[in-house]
């Protein structure tokens, strides 16, 4: 198969760029831990009230500046629908759904993941700026989807 010289140069440049991009995201993922949220734990979505973690969703303090927030997404809101942490806190979010597919998204941060029933998904974020953070659902979940939100209040230390 004859390939024109310019086309060879173009393909080497193009494929080279792709390999470079893949290299960057591969190193970021597997060497520095920038992985997409891919938690493998499962729960019984219909019986979350008997679940050891999600029967009592809420905020627990792990140490001085680290919190664990377990939340249940449900049409059309989150339980609890407001949490409060001090400025500079790192919060580990663990979220599951009691009904259909939702998301847990904090616009302006990298916290943005799907919440599928039966599965638990996770992300971590450090809140360095005080203020009210909006959390919203960005996966269509029914007629009231656009009302689904909660608030994270980050209070100054």
């Amino acid at each position: 198969m004859h390939i024109h010289k310019y086309e060879k140069i173009w393909l080497i440049f193009g494929v080279g760029s792709l390999v470079l991009f893949l290299g960057v995201i591969g190193v970021a993922a597997f060497a520095f831990g920038h992985q997409p949220p891919s938690h493998m734990a499962t729960v019984d979505a219909e019986n979350l009230d008997q679940d050891p973690v999600f029967s009592e969703p809420g905020l627990t303090k792990i140490d001085e500046s680290t919190y664990r927030a377990t939340l249940v997404a449900q049409a059309f809101g989150y339980n609890p629908n407001r949490i409060e942490v001090p400025e500079g806190s790192t919060v580990l979010f663990e979220v599951t759904s009691a009904d259909v597919v939702h998301s847990f998204t904090i616009p302006g941060t990298n916290v943005n993941f799907m919440v599928t029933p039966g599965h638990v998904n996770m992300a971590e974020h450090t809140f360095n700026e005080p203020g009210e953070y909006l959390v919203l659902c960005n996966e269509y979940c029914g007629t009231g989807h656009h009302y689904m939100s909660m608030t994270i209040e980050v209070v100054p230390r």
Binding site: M1, H2, H4, P37, T42, A75, T116, A123, L134, H146
Partner: protein, 565 residues
């Protein structure tokens, strides 16, 4: 550029053309496509205005109901009918009239598809199926909606059978000959469609339909999502491949040139077949239940499918430059002046190509693994596919309509039609620049996709999405209004070219196969080999994660059909 000269140039060639009976089959496909198009366009207008907070929707019309109609009618119905219409006309032009039996099969496919499309549309209009065109379980539509989708897909298989058999018969009668580019490319496209739509069919027939009918109590949500995206990503290549066929096979003829290389064109289509399917996880990067390893593996394969697009970009622009220089263009760029900018049949696909540059780059960003968290399910994604399918594909299809429609109805492509077409192309491009541009930036600020008008109790962040100078839902709505005007003009063009234009002859502007055809390697034509490699890649990319989803599945989900009404 003098447009009449070009038209004369085309009609001077003596070519057999398309059999009148096959023309009829094509014109039926085109008519359904354009009716779906105009309804879908008005759905888009209402969405843009409602989401921007400019109009309230009447109580009997839901935002998500319109959104479902917009997605199903434009992304599934318009594209699929247009593509099958194009393929029936092209295969009849390339290999002669369809046999009586095959034409009957084509009509059967058309009928089954149409029953399915009408059934699904009725269920959407009755607000029994506001599940969006991705129909993610466990939100549930009326079971008749799923029957409609199934019939639609089965209809496409029947039509594919007619087209592939027509080509296969030619192949048997002409052993050792290289396949013409049109039939080669159509075959790759249809094989991709069949392989990928099997995933949607399995999901609907074995998981969703029994569950929607109440025969099973629960459904494996993650498995249905995986099967949907097994189908959903190749679906975009099912739109792009016919678009590339116009770029490879029609555009060179329109500019008075010839295609750069046939072997590389064939190779590009084989690569699309191989790499389009085992990549669905890049739509599911942000969800639990699939490990990082399998997501990354499919990310690598996703990047591999960029290569045939790079090949295409080179071929097309090499053809442009070669033609421009042959027509006397000199210097580094002055050959560009020799291209027929005043001819909409060239200009519309050309604008599509221009929009494909940012669209392709955006696609690579979306697929970039952990980076996807920034844009996943935001308006960025909506901006992205309104550039790809909503501009690149659709402008190329419009460009095709200007010669295909009059050819089918025995009319002429007139100066008037050309002028309307140029205005239409500019309107569409400007509208899309505003709408898609604002969507991209709003998405980076976190504005969600698939969401009705919402300020989240006047959260400052959400309110800002309405107040930006360019990055605002208002810009999206303004772009949508311009696009609607362009859509109405295109519908007029359709009516004009099929019913009103003066009678005459219009040719199928198919570029002759390049000189290197007979040297193109024989192995490229070995479809059994390509299907085998396709299957192996799919097995490799999906077996372990799907096994894991079934064996380690959480309790399944019941029906949630109460949430959509």
């Amino acid at each position: 550029m003098n447009i009449t000269n070009l038209a004369v140039d085309i009609t001077q060639q003596v070519k057999p053309g398309v059999d009148p009976k096959d023309k009829k089959l094509t014109i039926y496909h085109m008519s359904v496509a354009f009716v779906a198009f105009i309804i879908g366009v008005f759905g888009g207008l209402l969405q843009g205005l409602a989401r921007g907070g400019l109009i309230p929707l009447p109580s009997w019309l839901g935002y998500y109901q319109i959104l479902t109609a917009h997605g199903v009618l434009l992304a599934l119905v318009f594209t699929t009918y247009f593509i099958f219409g194009f393929f029936f006309a092209g295969i009849s032009y390339t290999h002669g009239p369809l046999s009586k039996g095959l034409r009957k099969l084509g009509w059967t496919g058309f009928t089954v598809m149409s029953i399915g499309a009408v059934l699904a549309t009725i269920m959407i209009l009755m607000n029994e199926a506001s599940v969006l065109y991705t129909f993610y379980a466990p939100l549930a539509a009326h079971w008749l909606f799923y029957i409609g989708l199934t019939l639609f897909v089965v209809g496409t298989w029947i039509s594919s059978g007619a087209i592939l058999t027509h080509f296969y018969r030619w192949k048997k009668e002409n052993p050792g000959e290289r396949s013409p580019l049109f039939s080669f490319m159509a075959t790759a496209t249809l094989l991709l469609w069949i392989v990928s739509s099997l995933g949607a069919a399995v999901s609907i027939l074995f998981l969703i339909l029994p569950w929607a009918l109440g025969l099973t109590d629960s459904v494996n949500v993650l498995l249905t999502r995986t099967l949907f995206w097994y189908f959903g990503h190749p679906l975009v290549y099912f739109w792009i491949m016919p678009t590339y066929m116009v770029w490879y096979l029609v555009v060179p003829k329109l500019i008075g040139g010839r295609l750069f290389s046939s072997s590389l064109a064939k190779l590009a289509f084989v690569l699309f077949l191989l790499f389009s399917t085992p990549v669905g996880f890049h739509h599911m990067l942000m969800e639990s239940g699939v490990t990082e390893f399998w997501k990354f593996l499919q990310t690598v394969l996703t990047f591999a499918v960029v290569i045939p697009s790079l090949l295409t970009a080179f071929s097309i622009f090499a053809t442009f430059e070669q033609t421009g220089r042959e027509q006397g263009g000199k210097g580094l760029f002055s050959w560009l002046k020799k291209l027929p900018w005043g001819d909409v049949r060239f200009f519309a696909p050309f604008m599509g190509m221009m929009f494909f540059i940012p669209a392709g780059i955006g696609g690579l960003i979306n697929a970039s693994f952990s980076l996807n968290a920034v844009v996943h399910n935001t308006l960025w994604v909506v901006g992205h596919f309104h550039l790809t399918v909503g501009t690149t594909v659709i402008l190329t299809f419009f460009g095709m309509a200007y010669w295909l429609l009059p050819m089918l109805t025995g009319r002429r492509f007139t100066k008037h039609a050309n002028r309307c077409g140029i205005v239409q192309t500019w309107l569409w491009s400007i509208g899309m620049f505003l709408m898609s541009g604002a969507m991209h930036i709003l998405g980076l600020f976190g504005a969600p996709r698939r969401t009705a008008y919402a300020t989240y109790q006047d959260a400052p962040q959400a309110v800002a999405w309405f107040e930006g100078i360019f990055a605002s839902h208002i810009t999206v709505a303004v772009g949508g209004v311009i696009l609607t005007a362009a859509g109405v003009l295109m519908f007029y063009n359709f009516i004009y070219l099929t019913l009103l234009a003066p009678k005459g002859e219009t040719e199928f502007p198919m570029t002759p196969d390049p000189h290197d055809m007979k040297d193109s390697p024989k192995f490229l034509e070995n479809w059994k080999l390509w299907l085998l490699i396709t299957a192996l890649l799919i097995v490799f990319a999906y077996t372990i994660p799907i096994y894991d989803m079934i064996v380690n599945s959480p309790p399944g989900s019941p029906l949630f059909n109460n949430l959509i009404k």
